[in-house]
């Protein structure tokens, strides 16, 4: 079921088109990744969806509410974690959380209970009575996330949640995001880390220069750039001598010799390993390792964005 539906979203700053007519939807309960380099238009998109900025044109429906006309109603069911923390430096962690809960109309008892729970969940209990401005970057980001979910939003918008913080905190945050998903929260996440997108997102939109250049599940994206099935072999022996037999056996395949002990066999169809290894064995090539090479999201990204720049240059 679609919980967010965006059609022809556009953002003009003066005459600079930061978001160029993008359309996408987010399914209920999924982690939707918005992946793109700096300046691609990720934050601009989040700001328009959450009411911090006015779209220059579009239709946005969030949980069946028209977000362009009725953003205050939408804001009740969404949580927002901005790229830069926007909590109050002079207030302590606990008070910050309670204040954020109060903005959503939560009662005193309820918000204090929830604030304590969240401090605990984010390993910030001890820091709870220290002023926010004394927090480390990782702690700040965690408290900002806690503030974004204190009112139990249906949809959570996370703008680069792991950018600029230490590895350990980043891992903790990714785990928390996955836990939220398990509890049924729909998550919209922007990132410029390919690996992060690949690891935690269900579906990804690649955004470059304000345009979505590709959208789909992680597997779909990778398949789209796959030129065939690749088996990489490490061996002892002379591959050159068996090239002809291999081509007879696997019509249409290509052999790419990488070094004197490794080669790649590229084929349209998946390559059955047993006959391949047997053939090589019979020809005196002893194989130590055979593995399928899958393209990474990075390959996809480079290919697509490479194409994009080519197209733009023409």
């Amino acid at each position: 079921m679609e919980i967010v539906n965006v059609k022809n979203l556009k953002k003009l700053y003066g005459d600079f088109l930061a978001v160029d007519n993008i359309s996408f939807h987010i399914n209920k309960g999924e982690i939707f990744g918005f992946l793109g380099p700096n300046g691609a238009g990720k934050t601009s998109t989040i700001n328009m969806l959450t009411g911090l900025s006015r779209p220059s044109g579009s239709e946005i429906h969030i949980n069946s509410i028209d977000a362009v006309r009725d953003i205050k109603k939408v804001q009740r069911i969404i949580g927002i974690v901005p790229d830069e923390s926007n909590l109050y430096g002079e207030m302590n962690g606990f008070d910050n959380l309670c204040f954020c809960a109060a903005l959503y109309g939560m009662e005193k008892k309820e918000r204090e209970k929830k604030a304590k729970e969240l401090l605990n969940l984010f390993n910030l209990t001890e820091a709870g009575n220290r002023p926010f401005r004394a927090y480390s970057k990782g702690m700040k980001r965690k408290l900002t996330i806690a503030a974004g979910i204190i009112h139990n939003p249906k949809i959570l918008f996370l703008d680069e949640p792991t950018t600029g913080i230490d590895v350990e905190s980043a891992r903790h945050i990714r785990k928390l995001i996955l836990d939220l998903k398990d509890k049924g929260t729909t998550i919209f996440l922007t990132t410029h880390y390919l690996e992060e997108a690949q690891r935690i997102c269900d579906r990804i939109a690649l955004i470059v220069k304000g345009r979505i250049v590709k959208i789909g599940t992680v597997n779909e994206l990778m398949e789209s750039t796959m030129q065939g099935h690749i088996v990489q072999l490490t061996y002892q022996g002379r591959m050159e001598t068996v090239q002809k037999e291999l081509k007879e056996h696997f019509p249409g395949c290509t052999i790419k010799i990488l070094s004197n002990d490794s080669s790649q066999l590229i084929n349209k169809e998946p390559v059955p390993l047993f006959p391949l290894l047997q053939l090589l064995h019979n020809k005196g090539v002893s194989v130590y390792e055979a593995k399928e090479i899958k393209p990474t999201l990075e390959d996809v990204f480079v290919e697509i964005t490479g194409l994009e720049t080519d197209r733009a240059n023409k």
Partner: protein, 244 residues
């Protein structure tokens, strides 16, 4: 109910974070206090204190309110925490009201610093307190809204404070406090009547010294009209400037 919770907590947070902080208390209380003392020391007869009271009150309110939003709004804009308020499910009107409420309260309290001082020296029996409170409240409200308009136009805290001084001092001289409006050059007089403070001062003067030039009901109406107008203009420019 939910809106009320949000409103109340924004107000309380501002009071705790800003209004009760030493620099603001000193700006808001010490300044009018020292002015009052200075004037009282200089004056020899009781009658002078009563004559001075409207001016002192107006000044205390003006100084307590106009620069306040420069702090509470411009500062939060810089630190991006104001975004949090814009992202909350609270309408812009309620948000603006919650923000100005603290400053209005603060201004009203400031106004009574000189009154309390004066009460030690002279009898305040002849004052119509109903009108006095109304005047104080409306002056506080309109000056806060002017402060809001300034805060909306400024990017930096110091810019907002400079701007508010730019408006504050001419306003004090044109509103008829120090120099009666009839004695102002004819070219400046129309400007006086475009300032909410002129009507506020006249109300105060009317009830404290009995020397008003306009009917009090008229002044109240004018102040209300200014308040409504300023509120709408500020809200509109917030919407235009901050929700990009």
């Amino acid at each position: 109910m939910k809106t009320l919770t949000a409103f109340w907590n924004i107000l309380i947070k501002d009071i705790r974070n800003y209004y009760l902080k030493p620099p603001n208390i000193s700006w808001g209380i010490i300044f009018p206090l020292s002015w009052t003392l200075m004037q009282i020391i200089r004056s020899t007869e009781n009658i002078d204190i009563i004559q001075l009271l409207p001016g002192l009150m107006a000044m205390s309110i003006l100084f307590g309110t106009t620069s306040m939003l420069a702090v509470t709004i411009t500062f939060e804009r810089r630190g991006r925490s104001f975004d949090r308020l814009l992202l909350a499910p609270v309408s812009l009107s309620i948000l603006v009201l919650a923000k100005i409420c603290g400053a209005v309260l603060f201004g009203c309290l400031n106004a009574f610093v000189p009154v309390i001082f004066a009460s030690f020296f002279v009898s305040l029996g002849g004052i119509n307190w109903g009108i006095l409170f109304t005047a104080v409240f409306l002056i506080a409200l309109t000056s806060t809204l002017i402060g809001l308009l300034i805060a909306v136009s400024a990017k930096e805290v110091f810019e907002a404070q400079t701007l508010s001084n730019f408006f504050r001092f001419p306003m004090l001289f044109l509103c008829g406090l120090f120099l009666p409006i009839q004695q102002l050059p004819a070219a400046l007089r129309p400007i006086s009547f475009c300032l909410p403070l002129t009507y506020g001062t006249d109300l105060l003067k009317g009830t404290i010294t009995g020397s008003s030039i306009m009917h009090s009901a008229f002044s109240i109406l004018m102040l209300l009209a200014f308040a409504a107008g300023l509120f709408l203009i500020s809200r509109r420019s917030i919407q235009k400037k901050w929700i990009l």
